[in-house]
Amino acid sequence: MKPSRCHVITSQMLDKTFLADIMKMRGGQNILDCIQCGVCAGSCHAAWAMDFTPMQIIRMIHLGMKETILSSATIWICASCYTCTTRCPRGIDIPLIMSALKHTAIKEKFPAKIEIKPKFHQSFAEIVLKYGRIHEPELFLKITRKNNLHEIMQNAKLGLTLLRKGKLKLKAPKVNKKTQWSAIFEKVSKEAAA
């Protein structure tokens, strides 16, 4: 097999402000402390499903490879299990950086490699804003890929099983009008939309 050079970096790929932007976000402050030791990459339980390891993503942030990062699968595959950070000798909060990257991708409407993911985060936030708590049936409906019959069947089966066991409530959680909890968060959500 002919060896292929997959990640050749060109100056067009580099964004000069990206590193500074990420460093301003929670989790990104000490990103330059990374010594590229690879403990995060070796520890990651989901690395096999990623296109870049966490170690690579951190280095790519240093370099400013904004577009490559935000269109990667990695940022959406990170399950925030915190094995990497627990072992990181430099104390870098990698899952929080992944969240910052997800947030940037969602805010800038970046086309996601796993296209359902921005919708997952948005739907989850909208549902908890509406009821104060999550309402699983609504979330299932919103994030099941409509063009994937297999997934529809799998989720329907799971839904029925949970329903039979009395573990799924079709009725949405009751909103307590008196305490107006959502009024507190209305401002916050407006800020998100902006």
């Binding site: 929670r26 339980h45 989901a46 096999w48 499903a49 959406w76 595959i77 399950a79 925030s80 299990c81 915190y82 094995t83 950070t85 627990t86 104390g91 909060d93 899952p95 969240s99 997800k102 947030h103 969602i106 796993i114 993911k117 997952f120 985060h121 948005q122 989850f124 936030a125 908890v128 804003l129 104060g132 708590r133 999550i134 699983e136 979330l139 299932f140 994030i143 997934e151 799998q154 089966k157 799971l158 099983t161 949970l162 066991k165 009395g166 573990k167 799924l168 409530k169 307590n176 305490t179 107006q180 909890w181 009024a183 507190i184 968060f185 401002k187 916050v188 959500s189 800020e191 998100a192």
Partner: protein, 292 residues
């Protein structure tokens, strides 16, 4: 022993057996869990945070403030809630600007957050407030010879600078509880390996690969069941076990129970009161063995 109980969304829905069994066990041990009135979603780790970090933190803060007004420690059952609330507390303590901004929001709702409230997991209460001796004293049916794979998952023990509970690589808090009720913990090397968490909702195939490893390893070490402290791990390992079996053409058939259900069995509480009929993988064998 009184606590401000933060159930989190799943305890009333997908993890009902966790809530039910915890109630039953708490009654025996004299733990009074007072549900925080009108609590809201904890902020849901990365699910809400990635959409709007400030929203996630303020949602946590409202719960923390509600518990503060009750002048009690917060106790959670869900590992993800435990992490999310603990993280918000840490972020608010470290960032006075953020604390001020969140404080203003809470003021509008006549709530105040000072940062005094302690966030604790139910296992912490069992070990440090109740004590293993009292747990053993209440055992009526020793779970003699029951081989348990204690699976901790992620957020109960990681990252140590946020949750500050047990050893992040080799935890044994739940092991101790299982021992105290007569169970035998098998040497289970995937105690803290991630199950795939919310990937199960959007990236089913990735979650299935990850969860399958945990279940098969429990098989390999001849466990009779897996004990878990986290509703999301439980959903992936129990409710989705059949789906995993058919998708990956495997036979697993491994009961996955909440550790509180095992405690209840040992305390002689009826299986129904422990929601043992609500687990998706049958717990009949387990029940028959210790409950005539």
């Amino acid at each position: 022993m009184k606590y401000a109980f933060f159930p989190g969304c799943s305890i009333h829905t997908t993890a009902r057996e966790y809530g039910i069994s915890c109630d039953a066990v708490s009654r025996v041990l004299g733990i009074e869990l007072i549900e925080i009135p009108d609590w809201n979603c904890c902020g849901a780790m990365d699910a809400v945070y990635a959409y709007n970090p400030f929203l996630s933190i303020s949602m946590s803060a409202r719960n923390l403030a509600l518990a503060e007004s009750m002048k009690l420690d917060i106790v959670t059952l869900c590992s993800a809630c435990f992490f999310t609330l603990s993280r918000a507390k840490k972020l608010l303590n470290e960032d006075s600007e953020l604390k001020g901004k969140v404080g203003n929001l809470l003021n509008d709702a006549e709530l105040k957050y000072t940062g005094d409230v302690k966030v604790r997991h139910y296992i912490d209460v069992l070990l440090n407030d109740v004590g293993l001796e009292d747990i053993s004293k209440n055992v009526k049916v020793k779970l003699d010879g029951l081989k348990v794979a204690p699976y901790y998952g992620c957020m109960l023990v990681r990252p140590p600078n946020i949750v500050n509970f047990d050893d992040p690589e080799h935890p044994n808090s739940m092991d101790k509880v299982i021992e105290a009720i007569g169970g035998k913990n098998v040497d289970y090397m995937y105690k803290t390996r991630c199950c795939g968490a919310s990937l199960g909702l959007t990236e089913g195939e990735v979650m299935m690969e990850m969860t399958k490893d945990l279940l098969l390893e429990a098989r390999n070490v001849s466990a009779d069941c897996v004990a878990v402290p986290c509703p999301l791990c439980h959903l992936n390992m129990d409710a989705k076990q059949k789906t995993i079996e058919s998708a990956l053409d495997l036979k697993i058939d491994m009961p996955v129970v909440f550790f509180t259900q095992l405690m209840g069995l040992a305390f002689g509480i009826s299986p129904k009161e422990l929601g043992l009929n609500k687990n998706c993988v049958s717990t009949d064998k387990l029940v028959k063995r210790f409950h005539g």
